[in-house]
Each structure stands twice: as C-alpha cells, then as structure tokens.
C-alpha cells in the first residue's frame, strides 16, 4: 500500500513538472513586466555542472526561451563550441508557436557544423555547432536540451542571471554538483540588487529579473549586472594539468607547464642579438634594440591548435618562420631579452579599446591577449609585440590602464598597466588661414598628438593617398567644399609624437548675407556630437580616458573685409571637463582664436548624466559660434 501511494505521488510530482514546463512553451504566460523592453525572455534555464574529476565535467542544460522579436533570435543562444577536449553528448531543440503548440523538432545532426575560425585568425581547430532556424512568426519559444562533456576544464561555465541587454529572465538556476576531490571556487558579483536566491555556495536561482538596456557612456555590462564566476583549483587545459589556488599558483603553473622550455634560441640568433646590443649601456637601450629587431623580423599570424591556444610557439619556430601570435611573439621577445640580460615577464591581459581588467580577486583562466612587462624599469614598461610599427613601450588604446597577470618563475602577480592621464593624451592643433572676400579660405593646419590621441591619429600615415584625402574630409565634415592640397606626416617614435601637416582650402566657408560674412572661427576642431538624451537615465556613466585638446588658429581676413562683431570669450569648468575659447584681435586684419577642451576620466552617478550632457552640448554650441565680417563697398 505504501509503495503504491509513493509511486502515485511520484507520478503526480513528475507530471506537475511537465505541466509547468508546458506552460512555459506558450508566450501568453510571460509576466507582463518581463516583456517590457525585452526582445526575448529566458523562461527557464537550468544548468547543472557535475564535476566528476579535475578533468571531467558534465554540463546538462535545459533551456526555454521565448523570442518576442527578430532582434531576440540570437538570445536563444543555441551555439556550442566543441573540440579541444569538449564533446557534445546531446543536443536537441523543439520549437513552439505563440500558443505553445510544437512546430518542429531539431536534432543535433541538423545543427550547422562549422569551423570556428574567428576574424584575424588563420587557422584554429575549434569548431561550433549552432541552431539555424528561421522563425515563421513572433513570438515563438525554443526548448533546448544539451549535454556537454568537458575534459578540458580550464573554463568552467559560469552564470549570468541576466544574459544581456533586452533579455529578461523568468527562471534561471545554476548548480554545481561536485563529486570529485577538487575544490571549486565561486565568485558572485552584483547579486545584492537582484532577486536571486542562494541555496548554498554552489546553488543559486534567479526569478523575474527585468531586462537591462544599454545607455551611452555606461560602464561595461558586467560591472553592474549579476555575474557568477566559477573555477576549479585543479583543472585540465587540453591535456595539461593546471593548479589554481590563487594568482600566484596559477602564474607559477603557467610558467612551469606552458612557458618553460619554449624560450630556446638558435646560437646564431643569440650571437646576433648580443652583437647588436653589445655597446648599450643600460637595459632600456638593450630592450629598445631587441624590440626593433623583433618588429623588423616578424609579423602577426594567429594559428590556434590544441594546447597551442594557450602555450606559445617555440621561440626557435618564431625565429625560423618570422611569424607568431601574441603569445609566440611575446615569448620570442622574452627569449631575446633574456639572452641580453634584460628581465622581462610574460603578461596575460584583455586587449581592446574598452578597458577590461583581469579580475585580481578571482584567479581563473582569463585574458585574450599577451604582452611583455619589463619590471625593472621606472614605472614598468609594457611591450606590445604583435605590432611592427608601434613605438617602444607604447600601449595606449589597447592594453593601457588595466590589471594584467604577470607570469614569473616565482608565481603570478597582478600589476596595473601604464595609464595615460589627460595631460599626456594631448592634441594640439595650430592653423594659419586666410579668408577671402568671397567667403573662401585657404591655409595650413598642424595637428600634434600624444598619448591616447597618438593612437587615434597615427594610423592615417599608412593609408593610401585616396583614403587620406577622404579621412580629412570626414574629420572636418562640417566644412563643406573642403580640398586637401597637401599632406605630410611625421611620426616621432622616440618621443611618441605624431604630426600631421595639412594644407587646405574651402570655397564658401563663410556664409554671405548682403555685405555681411558669417564665419565660425573654430575651423579645425569642433565637437559636433551631443551625447544621447535620456528622460530617465538608469545607469551611471563613465569617461574611460581623459584628454586635453588645445587649439590656436590665426585667421587673416582679406583687406576688403573688416571685423564687425566678435563672440565673447567663454569659459566653462565642470567636474567632467573644462572648456574655454577666446578671440584676440591681433591687428586690423588678423585675429587669434584660442580654445581648450578637456574631459576628465572617471565614473559618475546617473543623476549627473544630464549635467555632463549639458556641458558637452554647450561645447558643441560654442564651437559653432560665429563672428561677423563686413565687406567694405
């Protein structure tokens, strides 16, 4: 009797789960607040991570997503990488219409199976299977069952209760079941502001999380959205066993198991580099010679196969082939520096214009790029080894101002890279122009850039003349009928200063009404974009890098013209930045226009966004200010 009741209960229990799932197949059951500003709703996401050994993990995922509009198709997220120690055991998808009626069943063999060679990479052995489904109508719902086996466990799947912008979450659950001896580390971020239940350190559930939407100037998603990171203390990286109690450990493992022995060089190269540096008096000078040697000899080619995705190519191979990826080229440079007695460390980092740090509080496999660090130099010198043209020690715009993992024989260490404060990220524009009485102008402009602004400008020198011409026409897009008559570039890599000398002319620059000519004296450096307006700003804002622009333009007017009205000087000082301009009359026919504009790096609260926007708007307005000239009749 007891058995019977029990089994009855069991049946009841099971069927109730099935029933509740079925309910989720229909779009009609979505709570209305979750539909607000959402392209898709994660109805149910249950991810179970079974850790069986340091090199064996089974991840099972059941996922139900209702897609509300075309932009939400990618939120189904039925994309599975495999190869390199990751196997797909099971994949199955069912599609339901708006009312929860099953439309289609898609098996693993019907997934698209393609090579996962990303842009910029020549070859990689990674592959991907993804769902290629054309929706018939919206909304529709996808049920996904997946089972993935990881023998390479360096990346333990984490959890994002809110998966991205414009996606809300009805139910999402994450659990790690650890039946192994290996310790698992967990870090949660920003959980406090969201409806997330913690069952224990390894088991969480989120309910009814509304979507987030992107806003201009907002800091990166992960800094305010809830995120869970997980890592194994012992792991496997494509067949190589790793240790990860902390960054020190992890770094030591990288040094011993990935780097050690890859830095041998052919004897003839050792001789050559010693010969080249023999007269150098200090390490910095030697390092510069080595850096130039590598730049002249190598180029960037990315090939990622097996552990080669993490272990650098042998220095001897880089030497012979003349190419390598960031790991190979950094390691090769490291080997050469070592040969001439200069200390250097291999450094793992996130490369990209947006600043992203290695998480110093949570050791795990992180980063997407490798550079070199010279520890014994003043303030530390960082070397980008994948560029053939970059000035020595210059990293602005790609790896500046962020935490990196330094790999040393003693262990790993987190060090912050060089920052370029606003005083060092400068742009100085000087011009001398002549304005004729038909409203046209001609003259010469010089733009000198340093720091981060150097990184923004120097690329133009390598473009073909046709594109250089178009670049300046777009750079000064508010000057119509612009002709670039001469261009000349100087790249001073020693002091990291880029100079552009440009001769220009423009017809009808001044607008003529009657015997009046209206002229904007700010010809060569205008702010034209005003930050997006939000009636209800929800996120704080960030100015990632500060800068200072200074401008001095001497404008000479034709003898038949005279100055009629000049705009008054303006000076605006805010915590976000500073702006001022002034006009000085030099003589009857010449004025000097001076301008300064700077922004201050920082994170600011959402309440201040409108004030920041007002500041930029007044800059844009003042940059358009006009003076009036009278044509003598």
């Amino acid at each position: 009797m007891t058995t019977k009741i029990l089994s009855f209960l069991g049946v009841f229990f099971i069927s109730s789960i099935v029933y509740s799932q079925e309910e989720l197949f229909s779009a009609a059951t979505i709570p209305s607040e979750l539909k607000y500003k959402a392209n898709a709703v994660v109805r149910y996401n249950d991810q179970k991570i079974e850790i069986k050994a340091y090199n064996e993990i089974l991840v099972t995922q059941k996922r139900i997503v209702t897609v509300l509009s075309k932009a939400g198709n990618s939120d189904v997220d039925a994309v599975f990488h495999y190869g390199r120690g990751i196997d797909i055991k099971n994949l199955e998808v069912k599609i339901f219409d708006a009312y929860g009626k099953e439309l289609k069943k898609i098996k693993e063999k019907d997934f698209q199976d393609v090579s996962a060679v990303s842009g910029g990479t020549l070859y990689s052995d990674s592959r991907v299977k993804y769902l290629d489904y054309t929706p018939i109508s919206y909304p529709y719902t996808v049920l996904l069952d997946a089972e993935i086996k990881y023998n390479s466990t360096a990346f333990l799947p984490g959890w994002r209760p809110i998966e991205g912008f414009y996606v809300s979450t009805e139910n999402s659950e994450y659990e790690i079941i650890n039946s192994s001896e290996v310790e698992v580390k967990i870090k949660t971020q920003n959980f406090e502001n969201y409806n997330i239940t913690k069952f224990n350190n390894f088991h969480y559930k989120a309910n009814d999380l509304s979507s987030l939407k992107p806003e201009a100037y907002s800091p990166p998603f992960k800094t305010y959205a809830p995120v869970l990171k997980a890592a194994l203390v012992e792991f496997d990286m494509v067949g190589v066993k790793g240790v990860n109690n902390n960054w020190s450990d992890f770094g030591k493992w990288m040094f011993e198991d990935l780097l050690n022995g890859t830095d041998q060089l052919p004897d003839q190269v050792k001789q050559e580099i010693k010969e080249l540096t023999k007269d150098s008096s200090n390490d910095l000078e030697k390092a510069k010679i080595v850096y130039k040697y590598v730049q002249d000899k190598t180029r960037y080619i990315s090939v990622q196969v097996g552990i080669g995705g993490w272990k650098p190519m042998l220095a001897t191979d880089v030497d012979r082939l003349g190419y390598g990826d960031c790991k190979g080229l950094s390691n090769y440079t490291y080997a050469l520096l070592k040969e001439v007695g200069v200390d250097a460390n291999y450094a793992v980092i996130y490369g990209g214009r947006n600043i992203r740090s290695i998480d110093k509080e949570f050791s795990s496999t992180q980063g997407n790029h490798v550079v070199l660090y010279l520890p014994n130099q003043e303030n530390g010198v960082w070397l980008e080894c994948t560029s053939q043209t970059n000035p020595f020690g210059f990293i602005a715009g790609f790896t500046d101002d962020r935490d990196a993992l330094i790999v040393t024989p003693e262990g790993g260490e987190i060090i912050h890279t060089t920052t370029y404060p606003k005083e060092k990220s400068t742009q100085v524009t000087k011009a001398r122009v002549k304005l004729l009485n038909d409203g046209s102008l001609n003259g010469e402009v010089t733009i000198k850039t340093q720091g981060y602004q150097y990184a923004l400008h120097e690329g133009i020198q390598n473009e073909e003349p046709r594109n250089q011409d178009l670049h300046f026409k777009n750079y000064w897009d508010y000057v119509n009928n612009l002709s670039i008559t001469e261009m000349e570039f100087e790249n001073d890599k020693e002091s990291i200063l880029f100079t552009e000398n440009i001769k220009v002319s423009a017809q009808n620059y001044a607008s003529k009404t009657g015997n009046l000519l209206l002229v904007s004296p700010n010809i060569f450096n205008r702010v034209t974009h005003i930050p997006t307006r939000y009636s209800n700003r929800t996120l704080g804002f960030e100015i990632e890098r500060g800068f200072v622009d200074t401008d001095e333009f001497i404008i000479e007017i034709d003898e038949s013209l005279s100055f009629d009205a000049l705009p008054d000087a303006v000076s605006i000082d805010t915590k976000y930045g500073f702006y001022q301009f002034s006009i000085t009359v030099l003589n009857e026919h010449e004025i000097l226009y001076k301008r300064t504009y700077s922004l201050n790096k920082g994170n600011y609260p959402k309440e201040e966004y409108a004030r920041f926007r007002d500041f930029v708007a007044s800059v844009a307005k003042n940059d358009k200010a006009k003076l009036a000239l009278t044509l003598k009749l």
Binding site: D113, R299, R320, T513, G514, L516, K626
Partner: protein, 674 residues
C-alpha cells in the same frame, strides 16, 4: 665582323636589361632590391608574375579531370602588403567524388641579406586545411620570413572533377606586371568565351590547337573452352584528339580599386569567362547546353526545382479557396494572396531561383528560400486566375552576367502581366509592396518566363519616384529657442527603407534616433503611422524644441529656415571617380517650411529664390522663399531623376550637390524693429 659584334652586344645588353626569369625559384636581385612599384607608387605589393594553366587529363574510370596549375610571384614592399603572404583557397568539398583537391603546393620567401639572396621554404607547419562547413573547405597557407621588400613565390595545383571552368580574374587590387595564361580544353567540350566588356582593361586572346592523346588500358579474359586455363589479355588503346588552346600574355595590368556607390566592383573587373555550351563525343550526337538566354531560361523552367514546383497546387488549394472566397476583383485577389504568402512563408535568408525544400514543405513549415516563396506566390496567383509569371534575376552581389548561363541568375520574383496590371512582386520582405522590391533585386534586367515557356527581358529599374514630403512649422520664441512640429511622409522605396529601419525599434529608442545629429533638441510626441499598413505612405510626426537653431550676432538673428532638416554635408567627397555611381531608385524630396517671426523682429535679408539643375533635369533643386506678414514660407524641392551618374559627369554632379547644400544652409537674417 665588328659591326656584328656590336649588334650582338646591344642585343645582349638589351637582354640583360629586360630579361626576367619567370621560372619558379628564379627570383632576381633587382626584384628584391626594388623599393617602390614603378607602375603604381601607391601599391603596397605587386604581382610580379602570374602563370596559370588549365588543362584536362583523362583518368581511366573517371573521365576528364580538370587541372588548374597556378604559379604566383609577389613582391611585398611594406607591412601594409604583408597580407599578400597569406592565401586562403576555397575548395568545393561535398563528397569524396565531388571534391576539388589541392596538391603540389610549394613556396619560398626570398629576401636579400647582405647583398645575397636567401630563401626560406614554405613547410607543412604553415599549411592548414579547414573544413568550413558541409560544402566547402579552405586550404590556407602563410609564407615564412616575410619582411619589407621580400618576394614570395608559390605554386599549387587544383584537381577538379568538373568540366566547368572558374572565371579567370585578371585584376587584383594590386597591379599584375605579367600574366601568362594557357587554357587547353579537349575538342569534345565546347566552351563559350567572353571577356568583360565593361572593364577598362581588355586582355588579348590567342586561339590555337594542339595535339593530345590519352590511353585506355583494358583487360580481357578469354576461355578457350574445356579444361584449359583461362587467359588474361592486356591491351592498350590510344586515342588522339585536339585541344583547343587559349593563351593570354599580358603585361602591366593595373589594380582595380573599389569605390563607394558602385553597384558591384566585380562588374568592372577584367576577366575571362568560359561556359561549357556543348559536348560532342566522337560518334555521338552533340549535346548542347545553355547558349542563349532563351535556352537557359527553358532549361531552368524545365527543371524539377522550378517549373514543376509551379504546377503543384494541392498543398494550398484549401487555403486559397478560403482566402479569396467570394472575391471577384482581381486587384483585391492579388493583395490577399500576396499578403498571405508574405505572412505564411518567411524567408530563411538564402537566395536561389530553385526551390530549396520544395514548395510543399516550405509552405507547410513556413520557411523557405527565395525560390520557395516566390514560386508559391506565382503558383497561387495562377490558381486564382491571375496571369502571374516568374522572373529570373541576378542580385547586385551576383553582378551582371556577361553571357547566357544558369549561374547568371540567382533569384526569382513574380510578375503579373494582366490587361490592367503590369507589376512586380517579391514576398520575401515584409515591407516590400507591389512594384517595390527589396533593393537587392534591383540589378540589371529580369527574364520573365511565361506559361507557354517563352521568355523575354524586362526592365527592373524603378521608374516611379519615391517621395519624401516634409512639413515643418516653426515658431521662434523670444528667448531664441525654437519650437515646432514636423510631419514626414514617405512613399514607395523611401517608405520601405524607413519601415525596415524603424519597425523593430522601441518608441524610446526611436526618439534617440530622431534626436541624433539635430543639435540641442528635445523631441516629443513622436508617432509613426502605417508601419504595418504597407499600402499607405509611412507617416512620422513629432514635436520639438531646439535650443541652438538661432544665433544672435550683433543684435541680429541668424537661422537656417530648414533647421536640422538641411543637408549639411556633401556625400560626394572623392576628387574623381573611375566607375559610375549607381543609385537604386529616383527620389523626390519636398520640404515645406512655415516660420513664425518673433514679436519685435522683422526680416532684414532672405535667401534668394533659385533653381539648380544637373544634366537637363537629371537632378533638380528649386528653392522658393516668400514672406507674408509674420510668416515666412519656404518651399524646397530636390528631385533626383537619374539613378546613374557616369564618371565623366561626376564633377558636375558633385557641384550640383554643393550648390544644393549651400542653398539648404542659407540663412535668414532678422533685425529688431526700431
């Protein structure tokens, strides 16, 4: 004697000066020393030599196999040219017997070190094979030791079971200094040859014949009878035949560089196209393939994935009956069926005039490629008694085919040829309507196939103007802010473009899009009407408040009456053009502006009314300004009637835009009433 010597010497000198050894591996010091390409100083790399040989080899049991041998020598001047040292070759790879294979790859990088030529071999470690997907694989390789000034050289062979020969491109975006091509095709296969007449570079073809032969080994068993052993006899039979040979030997082929607003730069590339048009084996009748557009069209029409699909009706009969029940008006029937197909079958993003899954399956599952969807449309219309026919099309990215070939088409739409209608339909886009096709289909001409199998060209170029009509009412306030209302109307292609752009944007984000690039503005009460109602013009209305539209200089007010609607930037910035500008459709924009002058001010200067014309009405701007009491009225019309601007007209056209934009930005000056 003496004379003979000098002649010899001169000859010899001349030889030294001009001789270049194009044999594989014979890279010269001069080639390595060169710092800049004399033919094109802007080139970062140059193809010093390219040799390509295409021939067919008889393989017993498999027939003629195509061999394509490529040898290239490339000079790399600087780092911007380094990517020429990496090559990715795409090969068809659907099954073992239907695959193209690359073999005999060899390569070297040559550098000059201390005046000596050194070479580094391309090895296996730098060669990669990637299975991209079900159909394609990539063979990639990257040359070792690439530095400024080096010369790379490589050669490989591609074996293919196909008789179809890929197009031969004579132009890269770097110059080719010397190109030798030899194509030998067995006499049994007849190829049509065509050089791209639109290219400004036309290579010269030489046609000859050469002897060739193949041998078949055969084995025959004979039994003499009784208990005697069987005997195997080997025999060989040799067949002689002629090869048709095309040779091309060109020097100094200029680079081909893309420009904005070119329909497809490939349409201007120097290339040789070979189309297999017939097979004639000895003692067999001639088997002829496509050789005229009529024939191509007929072949397509007769194929299983096309004409036969049009005849299937069972799968939709019930739906159709219900859909048009009681409807007698042809125009209404068309609308009903067109909308039904648009909502019933969604486009999966794939092109093709053939059906992918077949019409029945596509209809049932609700998704299909272009062929599936538009053939369903044609078929349903026909079943409803409408004279509908399919039209074969080559999309913009497929380019303009140079001669009759099935690959010349890659898309199909529907045409209704009724007494009262002569319209085109495409059901693959939610916002296309009658005669308003997705712009991908607006290329070259279409080939309509009628029910009796006959076919004819039709023009695809839109003739009807797409209109933008904007009504702007503004009032200048005493604090110099400007408030106003805007009403915008879009028709035809303009309406489709705006629908595609705005349909999936939330109202919140729409305001941000509209506020963008309008200076210090606040937009409110933004409404977009008729987004789904595609038969009607798309209508957008909003109110705004602008803080930076009026400038006060020395007590006078200056403003552009078109405010933020004025075009401020000339879209044509290039100094000169090499290729025509192609625009999709003719456009007519009308701006009607009413300005209320603020209290206490009067007009000092108004812009002059005027008209600007390009190429006798090809484009036209009219600008009319009037004052009546407290109000200013402005009427600005810009018509772009032409959709093609030739390079020789470019400067004139750019000048037209310059004048138009200057007119757009002219200012009204107000002064205080004293």
């Amino acid at each position: 004697m003496k004379k003979a010597l000098t002649t010899l010497l001169i000859l010899f000198l001349g030889y030294v000066q001009y001789a270049q050894d194009y044999d594989f591996g014979k890279v010269s010091k001069q080639e390595l020393e060169e710092k800049i390409c004399p033919q094109d100083s802007s080139a970062n790399a140059v193809v010093l030599y390219k040799n390509e040989k295409i021939s067919f080899e008889y393989v017993q049991g498999e027939g003629f196999m195509q061999n394509r041998e490529v040898h290239e020598r490339i000079k790399i001047y600087n780092k911007e040219g380094f990517h020429w040292a990496t090559k990715k070759i795409r090969l068809y790879n659907s099954s073992a017997s239907n695959s193209e294979n690359l073999s005999s790859l060899k390569g070297y990088t040559f550098s000059l070190i201390d005046g000596k030529i050194e070479k580094e071999k391309l090895k296996k470690e730098s060669i990669f094979e990637e299975e991209a997907n079900k159909y394609w694989k990539f063979e990639s390789f990257t040359m070792p030791n690439v530095k400024d000034g080096c010369v790379i050289e490589y050669a490989y062979r591609i074996k293919s079971p196909y008789l179809q020969i890929d197009d031969i491109n004579f132009q890269y975006n770097i110059p080719i200094l010397k190109y030798d091509l030899k194509i030998s095709t067995p006499e049994y296969y007849i190829y049509n040859k065509l050089l791209n007449p639109k290219s400004s570079y036309i290579p010269k073809l030489n046609l000859t014949k050469e002897h060739n032969s193949f041998t078949i080994n055969s084995k025959a068993r004979s039994t003499t009878g009784g208990l005697t052993a069987t005997k195997t006899e080997f025999s060989q039979s040799k067949t002689d035949y002629m090869d048709n040979v095309i040779t091309i030997n060109e020097v100094n082929i200029p680079a081909l560089k893309d420009e904005p607003l070119v329909d497809n730069i490939d349409n201007y590339r120097a290339k040789l196209i070979l189309e297999l048009t017939a097979i004639k084996y000895p003692n067999k009748p001639l088997e002829s393939f496509s050789s005229s557009w009529e024939k191509v069209t007929k072949t397509i029409y007769d194929s299983d994935e096309f004409g036969i699909q049009l005849d299937k009706t069972g799968y939709y009969e019930e739906d159709l009956e219900y859909l048009i029940a009681g409807e007698t008006n042809v125009s209404n029937k068309i609308t009903l069926i067109y909308n039904h197909v648009k909502s019933k079958v969604k486009w999966n993003g794939y092109y093709g005039y053939r059906t992918d899954n077949g019409v029945r399956k596509a209809y049932k599952e609700g998704t299909g490629n272009v062929g599936d969807i538009n053939l369903i449309l044609v078929s349903m219309l026909r079943s409803a008694g409408v004279k509908a026919n399919p039209v074969l099309i080559s999309t913009k990215n497929n380019g303009i085919p140079l001669f009759p070939t099935r690959d010349g088409f890659n898309y199909v739409i529907c045409m209704i040829e009724d007494v009262n209608f002569n319209v085109l339909l495409d059901a693959t886009n939610d916002y296309s309507t009658v005669d308003i096709l997705p712009t991908r289909a607006l290329n070259w001409q279409g080939r309509v196939i009628r029910e009796n199998g006959s076919s004819a060209w039709i023009d695809l170029q839109p003739k009807v103007k797409s209109e933008e009509t904007v009504l702007l009412n503004i009032a200048i306030n005493t604090d110099l802010t400007v408030g106003g209302k805007v009403r915008e109307n879009y028709t035809n292609y303009m309406a489709m473009q705006h629908r595609n752009r705005y349909a999936n944007v939330s109202p919140d984000d729409l305001i941000k899009i509209f506020e963008k690039n309008k200076g210090e503005i606040v937009i409110e009460n933004l409404e977009i009407n008729n987004v789904k109602d595609v038969e009607k013009p798309l209508q957008i209305t909003y109110e705004f408040q602008s803080n930076d539209a009026v400038e006060e200089i020395a007590g006078k007010l200056y403003f552009t009456p078109m405010l933020f609607l004025a075009t401020s930037e000339n879209p044509f910035k290039q100094i000169k053009r090499n290729y025509p500008i192609t625009m999709d459709f003719p456009v007519s924009t009308k701006y009607m502006v009413n300005v209320m002058i603020p209290e206490g001010y009067e007009v000092e200067t108004l812009p002059e009314s005027s008209a600007v014309d390009f190429n006798n009405g090809g484009a036209k701007l009219t600008y009319v300004v009037k004052k009546s009491g407290k109000y200013l009225q402005l009427l600005v019309n810009l018509d772009l009637n032409t959709t093609l601007v030739l390079p020789e007209d470019y400067e004139y056209f750019k000048g037209f835009f310059k004048s138009s934009i200057e007119k757009h930005n002219e200012k009204v000056v107000l002064k205080k009433i004293i």
